[in-house]
């Protein structure tokens, strides 16, 4: 009798456990998957950031033992606690890979896209919920493979996140892990992209025409197309490189290679530039994958907090689509110095100049949208406002790099690092923070602490600039990137003070995230619930109960107007929701 009862109890326990697994781990609900993506991506982001902090130590204090961490690492990574160059290269390659492919893209697309898009278009879920789950799982597998590669003999991939061949062809086995991990991440992105496009095209609520879509949804749609069409090029490149590494082919190896004084065994006949073409065909659209969702979030936050419609919504949408299209035509501006002909470089300079126009239009529209508003300054708005000048600097510094002549001097210098970090770090990551603070009440039903948020913002703002502004000057001073010890060069020695400023800013930036991390977890446990629509927003995600139930909308919403109908003359309140609440 006792035995039976005991057995019965176990049964019900395991049943509960199954529920837990189904609910939180193998969930097909887009909101759960979005949160899974978000937390995983934030963890990866923090990890990638930690790698960078170690690199900053080596740059500021070359040859000195890394405090605390140095003692924990094996002797293939450090020598008496001081970093070895091979480890520095691994950190560099993995920092880039983790931040781009495992941090920002999953956060911007996987997390925000998954959580917000179906809600904003009034759908019950993503079009293919099970595919959505698989996409998250592929992402996790790819990410884990990447992280485990540090344990491979010779350590992780060390040929830069760009993995230029032939260096990557002859690199240690960590590169093979990188390629395999990459194939999983690509697979994940492809599944996600298909899902987003079908969802946005098919599952819009009644009355949600394309020009009533919030700008964020538009940005996700264009992003999904970029992922769908650009990633296969890297997939092809990864297959070629895997063949080179494992089957002894020489797709990227020209004839007559002599490595370490000995003739290479490969037959040759390949092209090192083929890798660059394939890689940048992906990686330039990838840059827009990183930035467009951020722009989308900023547009939402600005419209809501200026209490007026976005200025030039339609031209923003057209620019977005044009931007997406053009991003496939500019890849070779990363390759001006590979000896391409003048005609080719002229073509890519022109396309590069053309592509800057739609970005400028979008940014201008966002700025002009401030005019005539009644501007509130909650934490998400602070981040969104900071995005504007920060992305502005990132975009503007792209100008000299997009023109072949200045690029001849600035290519592969710290200026490049400063440029693209301004786009993605104080640019996209600020937008991501804006998104987290903005939608946190929707996801958890609790509000985040405003004061801690403001502290987080101001510290982050100061130190982000403290990291990246000196890099611009370092680049102008002629310091090349990816140098384990720039002080080997007299240019690096001259600019060493800048490096120290960058490094200390980076470590302070890490400390500045403590208020955020505390706020993020502590706010979840608050007793008092946030308001259903704390920002008085019009878009559909605020028209569901908080947190939204499985299936999102108790009854299908019917959309009656555009996404940014704030301060409509004659309206009862200063915001007119897209759908009048039904049955809630």
């Amino acid at each position: 009798m006792r035995n039976t009862r005991h057995w019965g109890l176990t049964m019900s326990d395991s049943h509960d456990e199954l529920n837990f697994w189904r609910k939180y781990v193998f969930s097909t609900d887009h909101k759960t998957i979005g949160i899974q993506y978000g937390i995983t991506a934030l963890v990866f982001l923090f990890f990638g950031f930690s790698l960078m902090m170690m690199m900053r130590w080596q740059l500021a204090y070359p040859g000195q033992a890394i405090p605390i961490i140095g003692a924990l690492l094996g002797d293939t990574f450090v020598n008496r606690g001081a970093m070895l160059p091979e480890f520095y290269n691994q950190l560099g390659a993995m920092h880039g890979t983790i931040m781009v492919f495992m941090g920002i893209v999953p956060l911007a697309v996987g997390a925000f896209g998954n959580f917000v898009v179906p809600l904003q278009i009034g759908a019950a879920d993503m079009a293919f919920p099970r595919l959505n789950m698989m996409s998250y799982q592929a992402f996790v597998i790819g990410g884990v493979i990447m992280l485990l590669s540090f344990l491979a003999p010779g350590g992780a991939a060390s040929s830069g996140w760009t993995s230029y061949a032939p260096l990557s062809d002859i690199a240690t086995s960590g590169q093979t892990w990188w390629l395999i991990g990459m194939i999983f991440l690509i697979f994940s992105s492809l599944l996600g992209a298909i899902n987003f496009i079908v969802t946005i095209i098919h599952l819009r609520a009644e009355g949600m025409t394309f020009f009533r879509l919030p700008f964020f949804v538009w940005s996700q749609l264009v992003t999904a197309f970029l992922l769908l069409l650009a990633f296969p090029a890297l997939q092809a490149a990864a297959v070629f490189q895997l063949m080179d590494r494992l089957a002894g082919t020489s797709f990227f190896l020209p004839s007559g290679l002599v490595v370490g004084g000995e003739a290479s065994a490969a037959v040759g006949g390949g092209s090192p530039l083929l890798w660059q073409h394939l890689f940048w065909f992906l990686a330039h659209p990838e840059v827009y994958v990183l930035i467009l969702p951020g722009m989308g979030i900023v547009a939402e936050v600005i419209a809501i907090n200026t209490r007026k419609p976005l200025w030039g919504y339609r031209s923003m949408v057209y620019s977005l689509v044009f931007l997406g299209f053009m991003s496939f035509c500019v890849w070779a501006h990363h390759m001006f110095l590979t000896g391409m002909g003048t005609t080719m470089s002229t073509f890519f300079q022109i396309t590069t100049m053309i592509i800057s126009i739609p970005s400028v239009i979008i940014l201008s529209c966002l700025v002009i949208s401030l005019w005539g508003g009644s501007i509130r300054f909650p934490v998400p708005m602070l981040f969104a406002l900071a995005f504007l000048p920060m992305f502005g600097i990132g975009g503007l510094t792209g100008l000299p790099l997009g023109l072949a002549v200045p690029d001849v001097y600035l290519h592969d210098s710290y200026y490049v690092i400063g440029h693209f970090h301004y786009v993605v770090a104080p640019g996209t990551i600020f937008a991501m923070f804006a998104g987290i603070y903005h939608w946190y009440p929707k996801a958890t039903g609790r509000a985040m602490n405003e004061s801690l948020g403001k502290l987080h913002f101001w510290l982050s703002f100061i130190f982000m600039n403290g990291i990246f502004m000196p890099m611009m000057f370092e680049g102008m001073a002629g310091v090349s990137r990816r140098l384990f010890n720039p002080e080997v060069y007299n240019t690096g020695l001259g600019a060493h003070g800048l490096t120290v400023i960058s490094s200390w800013s980076a470590w302070c930036l890490a400390l500045s995230q403590l208020p955020f991390i505390y706020n993020f977890f502590a706010s979840m446990r608050k007793k008092e619930r946030a308001e259903e629509n704390p920002w008085q927003a019009t878009t559909l995600e605020w028209a569901t109960p908080t947190p939204p139930p499985h299936g999102n909308f108790p009854s299908p919403p019917v959309v009656e107007r555009g996404p940014y109908e704030y301060s409509v003359p004659g309206a009862a309140s200063d915001f007119s929701p897209q759908a009048v609440k039904q049955g809630v």
Binding site: G63, P85, G154
Partner: protein, 244 residues
């Protein structure tokens, strides 16, 4: 002092049974092969290296002078230095006591010392740096696992254990940061090997009686071999001659 003597006694206690229990309580044999490696023909033109343009710290170690590389060194008596001589076959199945300590390779003045050396299979190769500049030790092993470790100035030794025979040709070790730096290490399963020095001679002593193939290897001029039969207590001589 006291502690030291205890340590010595303890070591003896540990080592003695091994010594007496093993087959090789005495030298394995009494035969000796001696010889020299001669060079005939035109002396190759080996260009001296000016290190100053690449790394001032390297050339400072040589007083700013150019350095002749160790690739081909013809001794005054017309013999060839840095040739590796070893018993290639005839000792299969026999085991010999291991030398104590590691084989050493030093990096000094951005060159390797010694340029060519032999070591025993199972022994470790300790690579030391005495230079005020950074090196990387890149072992282009074909049989053993290849390695590539950087060694900044003042770093501790890099120790690599050689698990397999690799003597024909020996393993090349190179510093990629200073591409002129290279050294050769032959990993042999027995103690009968030698590197020719300033007089170009070699001695393989304490060989057991038997028939052997003796091989000589030089990094530029390749290999030659000679078969020799030798009895206990005998001493025979081999002369190898490379034509330039």
């Amino acid at each position: 002092m006291n502690k030291l003597s205890i340590l010595v006694v303890a070591l003896l206690v540990v080592l003695l049974p091994v010594q007496s229990g093993g087959q090789a309580e005495k030298p394995a044999g009494t035969a000796t092969v001696t010889g020299s490696v001669k060079f005939e023909g035109k002396k190759p033109r080996i260009r001296a290296i000016d290190m100053s343009g690449a790394d001032a710290k390297c050339s400072e170690a040589h007083g700013g002078k150019r350095l002749k590389p160790d690739t081909v060194i013809i001794n005054k008596n017309g013999t060839l230095r840095n040739a590796f001589v070893w018993v290639k076959s005839g000792l299969e199945g026999k085991s010999f006591p291991m030398p104590e300590g590691d084989a050493m390779l030093d990096q000094k003045g951005c060159t390797y010392t010694p340029h060519v050396q032999g070591m025993r299979k199972g022994q470790s190769l300790a690579i030391k740096t005495s230079d005020p500049t950074a090196h990387n030790v890149h072992g282009y092993a074909k049989v053993n696992r290849s390695f590539n470790r950087s060694q900044p100035a003042g770093a501790g030794d890099v120790s690599i254990r050689m698990r397999r025979d690799e003597s024909s040709p020996p393993m090349k070790i190179k510093c990629d940061i200073h591409p002129w730096m290279n050294a050769y290490v032959a990993v042999v399963d027995h103690p009968y090997y030698a590197v020719t020095g300033e007089d170009g001679s070699f001695t393989l002593a304490n060989l057991p009686a038997g028939t052997y193939i003796v091989e000589v290897w030089h990094e530029k001029y390749g290999v030659m071999e000679e078969t020799i039969t030798i009895g206990d207590g005998e001493a025979k001589s081999i002369e190898f001659t490379y034509a330039g």
